[in-house]
């Protein structure tokens, strides 16, 4: 892995979309929290897959089917390495992080949890890490409890011991998609284990930005999504400890996930195949591997450092320029946050703000960011969110600041 610093000009040039214009302005893409742009290297890998080896996997004895199968299994191994899994078999491919969590909720949850068991979530979870548990709660009488936030938007762990009473699973984000908060995952996993609970980490906003190691977290399940880490759409991931996966029944049924099917019933296959029913998103698995190769070539440490520097620059620039007219939600100390900046500016509704920014070619997201419980706690319906990634630079931040000033002028009343 490279330890060199990231050359953002070179990086930017890898992303075809970032060279385009929007509304007559060069695009300023600040919505990587919703989805990242894709480097040429990933698009080429998709094309090469379709043009050279496209075939259904695990099914054909002919050469291109064999190559496609190998490409998928190599991707599994590469992803295992990328997140510090101890074996490729612990990697289950899904279509997105949402399916990964639903898989755990259906397969592990419905097998192991019953009335009165408690699931502990945090107030800053994405709907993907809330609704599957609420479905389980409604179906099985499982109880959901919430870790609150302190005033800076960090988890308030003061009462963690009481909150853990009766808990069977703690499900926590490694990085908030709204506040940028980075909860202390290892500490929470340890506390969960101390009461015999498991810990699931939603690393959708973490994996694209930081080196990831499930062994360091000592968690039990971990999920993330390909499209936020330079990969294609349509591909997500579940990592789970082998002995947990081994004990879990299938989620979806269909081709591939079986060992045998008779008129009377079916025998499931071993993991990870057991959880991969039907034709997999093969090109997307290959594309995700290309994304991992791309990120590794730059180096996750270099990416982390670049984003840290840029986040510091952004917070300084925005604060100096707009003072009290602008509020940045969430932690302000850079140790506790990533480059996700949820803004409130002069009472202008986020939707209107993002509309004006769009006229300047600036893409930020306005809304509840699939975190309505958190919005409730923040006391807002929506925020305008600018989220930084490896291809952003200071000029993007400057453009955002200019755009905010223009919006201020437009709505000045």
């Amino acid at each position: 892995m490279s330890t060199a610093t990231l050359n953002v000009t070179t990086v930017k040039a890898d992303f075809p979309l970032l060279g385009r214009e929007v509304n007559g302005h060069p695009i300023v893409y600040l919505d990587s929290g919703a989805t990242s742009q894709k480097p040429r290297q990933v698009l080429d890998a998709l094309d090469r897959y379709y043009e050279e080896i496209n075939a259904n996997i695990h099914r054909g004895a002919y050469l291109i089917a064999e190559k496609a199968t190998t490409a998928v299994e190599d991707s599994r191994a590469a992803l295992a390495g990328f997140v510090g899994a101890s074996a490729a078999e612990e990697i289950v491919f899904t279509k997105n992080a949402t399916e990964s969590i639903n898989l755990v909720a259906h397969s592990w949850g419905r097998t192991n949890l019953s009335e009165g068991d408690v699931i502990l979530l945090t107030t800053l979870e994405h709907h993907a890490n809330i609704v599957p548990w609420q479905q389980l709660a409604a179906e099985r009488g499982v109880v959901i409890r919430w870790i609150p936030l302190d005033d800076d938007g960090r988890l308030d762990l003061t009462d963690l011991d009481q909150l853990l009473d009766g808990v069977r699973l703690v499900a926590v984000s490694a990085a908030s998609n709204v506040l940028g908060t980075l909860p202390p995952v290892r500490r929470i996993a340890d506390a969960a284990h101390a009461v015999g609970a498991l810990c699931l980490v939603d690393a959708s906003q973490w994996v694209p930005h930081y080196p990831t190691n499930v062994a360091d977290w000592d968690c039990d399940f971990m999920v993330f999504t390909g499209h936020k880490m330079c990969g294609p759409t349509g591909i997500g991931l579940l990592w789970g400890r082998r002995h947990l996966l081994d004990a879990m029944p299938p989620f979806m049924g269909g081709g591939s996930m079986i060992q045998n099917v008779t008129f009377e019933g079916f025998t499931p296959a071993d993991v990870p195949t057991r959880f991969e029913a039907g034709t997999q998103p093969i090109a997307e698995i290959v594309g995700l591997r290309a994304a991992v190769d791309y990120l590794n070539a730059i180096g996750m440490e270099a990416i982390r450092q670049h984003e840290l520097d840029l986040t510091a620059y952004a917070m300084r620039t925005l604060t100096e320029r707009f003072g009290d007219d602008l509020a940045i939600h969430g932690p302000h100390d850079l140790e506790n946050r990533g480059g996700t900046l949820s803004l409130a500016y002069r009472g202008i509704h986020p939707h209107d703000l993002s509309q004006v920014l769009d006229q300047h070619g600036i893409c930020v997201r306005a809304g509840h960011h699939c975190a309505k419980p958190l919005m409730k706690v923040l006391g807002v319906n929506a925020t305008a969110r600018a989220s930084l990634y490896l291809y952003n630079d200071e000029s993007d931040v400057d453009a955002l600041a200019d755009g905010l000033a223009a919006a201020g002028d437009f709505f000045a009343f």
Binding site: G24, D352, Q355, V356, Q359, G367, K372, F413
Partner: protein, 156 residues
């Protein structure tokens, strides 16, 4: 390219700055419905007091962007004093103006400037530019869809 002035007409900004009929009504005797824009989190409450077969009072609560707020404000002014059926007629004309009938091949809505069926809407005509910004159509129709719900409760 559609510009900001297509979206944010002066009359819209005026209703946003000074919303008409803002507030609540006691239920009962009034009736109320609540609407969400699931995409952006905006929410709105529409309170109606129907007396002698006409909308005697209307109030708008909730939070939202300039488009959803001003559209609801105009809506309240447009239906106040009408019968429920009369209100439904305004609703229908408005929704017709807001519906995109066709898209160009590149996903851009075809200009709807000379589209028929949207006459007689007065101030509301100012919202016509919203159809050029498809994502905002849901903002503009939020209050109206909520009105639709509350009208259902009038039982007429």
């Amino acid at each position: 390219m559609a510009g900001l002035e297509d979206l944010y007409r002066e009359v819209i900004l005026d209703h946003y700055r000074s919303p008409r009929n803002r507030g609540e009504l006691e239920t009962p005797p009034a009736i109320m419905a609540e609407g969400f824009n699931p995409l952006c989190g905006d929410e709105i409450q529409v309170y109606l007091l129907v007396e002698d077969g006409v909308i005697a009072e209307i109030r708008i609560g909730g939070q939202g962007c300039s488009i959803s707020q001003s559209s609801a404000s105009m809506m309240s002014a447009a239906v106040l004093g009408r019968t429920p059926d009369g209100a439904r007629e305004v609703l229908r004309s408005f929704k017709e103006m807001m519906s995109i009938h066709e898209h160009g091949l590149d996903g851009e809505p075809i200009s709807t400037d000379d589209q028929p069926g949207a006459s007689g809407l007065g101030d509301l005509e100012a919202l016509r530019g919203v159809v050029k910004f498809p994502v905002r159509i849901k903002c503009a129709t939020l209050g109206w869809n909520t009105l639709d719900q509350v009208l259902d409760q009038t039982g007429t």
